[in-house]
């Protein structure tokens, strides 16, 4: 029996960031990862982005983005942190009103952004189609290569004494984690950071949302910012219907990462040709020159979504009577962005310290009322 202060289950970017944060605080940390891949960490775009679906989401993403910026200079080259900035694209006057609204919200909360008119948008991204209304530039948003970031956080945690166990956790409760290979770990607290692999706690109110991405060959200079259509906010956050939205990211190599799709109720990891076609046609409609480019690879992944689009960070109280269980899960598309903020919130929670932002909106206990309302 091996004994720790904390065992973190799941070595995706969130689990690794949590393990590093707890190790830094002097805790004895065990990390468990049984999968060959890193779930959404390996499948996602790696956009470090301020999002404002809700005030609580804005606070957490803003906080997390600021933490990324603070350590940007110290990240290994392999993490490919690039402050490309995001441009939210407005296709018409109606969406341009949203640009101004977003700009105002960001100004109130201290997020730097700038409104671009049609001509300024063309200057910023000459390969966009020319009849767009404008956009909102958020210059401090960034892009990373998430698997390398997770690996870096993990290696930092290990350097600080954390122990990695490469086996699947088959049970995690009441201060004990048992692994498929027979190892038994003991800890005062267990943090579940398992993304969509949430069978260790069946009460976890998470849904899988499937996504597709495509990456092209190298076309250096074609794209300068991460571009997202403002319609994304409308399409991506419908809770039921399948949707696609124009979302494209420049990589350091000159490759272009093209998204995005959202589907519920499809657990098949295979590529869905119809959705992929819609997604690529959407991208071509915004950037016509994409039609002549070669895509090297297409893949899918699953986001772990909650009902209120906010992650579950903190004790599992309400979802479980087991007081040893804590959660860092349900980040949907924002696990990369929010990994650092979540790690801080968890540490502050474990140490009973006052966090830099209000932890309340992300506490798992909030889901209890929601589930009761849903049942009623």
């Amino acid at each position: 029996m091996k004994s720790f202060d904390i065992v973190v289950v799941g070595a995706g970017i969130v689990g690794c960031a949590v393990a590093r944060e707890l190790s830094r605080a002097g805790m004895r940390v065990g990390i468990v990862e049984g999968g060959a891949h890193r779930g959404a960490t390996a499948a996602g775009m790696g956009h470090v982005v301020v999002m404002d679906d809700s005030p609580a989401q804005l606070v957490l993403t803003q906080y997390s983005c600021s933490l990324w910026r603070k350590e940007a200079d110290h990240l290994p080259v392999a993490v490919e942190y690039e402050g490309f900035g995001t441009i939210w694209i407005a296709a018409n006057d109606e969406e341009m009103e949203e640009v101004h609204a977003k700009h105002a919200i960001y100004a109130q909360t201290g997020v730097v952004s700038a409104v671009l008119n049609a001509a300024e948008l063309v200057m910023a991204e000459p390969n966009l189609r020319k009849d767009l209304a404008g956009g909102l530039l958020v210059p401090h948003d960034a892009v990373i290569y998430p698997p390398a970031a997770a690996e870096f956080f993990l290696s930092e945690a290990q350097r600080l004494g954390a122990a990695l166990f490469r086996s699947r956790a088959v049970q995690a409760s009441h201060g004990e984690v048992s692994l498929e290979d027979g190892t038994l770990l003991q800890a005062e607290r267990i943090v579940l950071a398992t993304g969509t692999e949430c069978d260790l706690l069946s009460a976890l109110p998470l849904q899988k949302r499937k996504g597709h991405l495509a990456i092209t060959d190298r076309y250096p200079g074609f794209l300068c910012h991460q571009l997202v259509e403002l319609g994304y906010l409308k399409s991506a956050h419908k809770l039921v219907a399948d949707s696609v939205a124009f979302n494209i990211q420049p990589r350091q190599t000159g490759q272009l990462l093209i998204g995005s799709s959202r589907q519920y109720g499809d657990d098949d990891p295979g590529v869905d040709a119809a959705i992929l076609r819609q997604m690529l046609e959407r991208a071509v409609s915004y950037m016509p020159a994409l039609a002549g480019m070669s895509v090297l690879r297409v893949w899918t992944g699953f986001r772990a979504a909650t009902l209120d689009k906010l992650p579950l960070i903190g004790p599992a109280a309400g979802l479980s009577d087991d007081t040893s269980l804590w959660l860092a899960a349900g980040f949907e598309g924002l696990g990369i962005t929010n990994a650092l903020g979540a790690a801080r919130l968890l540490l502050d929670g474990l140490l009973n310290r006052t966090p830099e932002i209000d932890a309340g909106p992300y506490l798992p206990a909030r889901m209890v009322n929601r589930m009761e309302i849903a049942r009623a």
Binding site: D217, R218, Y219, P220, T253, G292, M293, S294
Partner: protein, 77 residues
């Protein structure tokens, strides 16, 4: 026939594939991410080392492309 490789004119015999013309001109097909010059390796369209910009179109596999008079090729960067 004559082709243009990185702005220089080159005389090639009919039937020459573009990768061979580039070899003849002493120009790399492409420059890798780490800055290495690369040229055709497998010569049968599988290794993708021979990609270059042919008549303005990026990432053409030059070993699978026969020269035509007036064709323009640039090293893929």
């Amino acid at each position: 026939m004559t082709v243009t490789i990185n702005g220089r004119l080159l005389e090639v015999v009919a039937g020459t594939v573009v990768s061979a013309a580039m070899l003849q001109a002493g120009e790399p097909c492409r420059i890798s991410v780490s800055g290495e010059p690369r040229t055709a390796m497998c010569g049968m369209g599988i290794c993708f080392e021979c990609r270059a910009v042919v008549n303005g179109v990026a990432h053409r596999r030059t070993c699978q492309f026969v020269c035509a008079d007036g064709l323009r090729v640039e090293t893929m960067r």
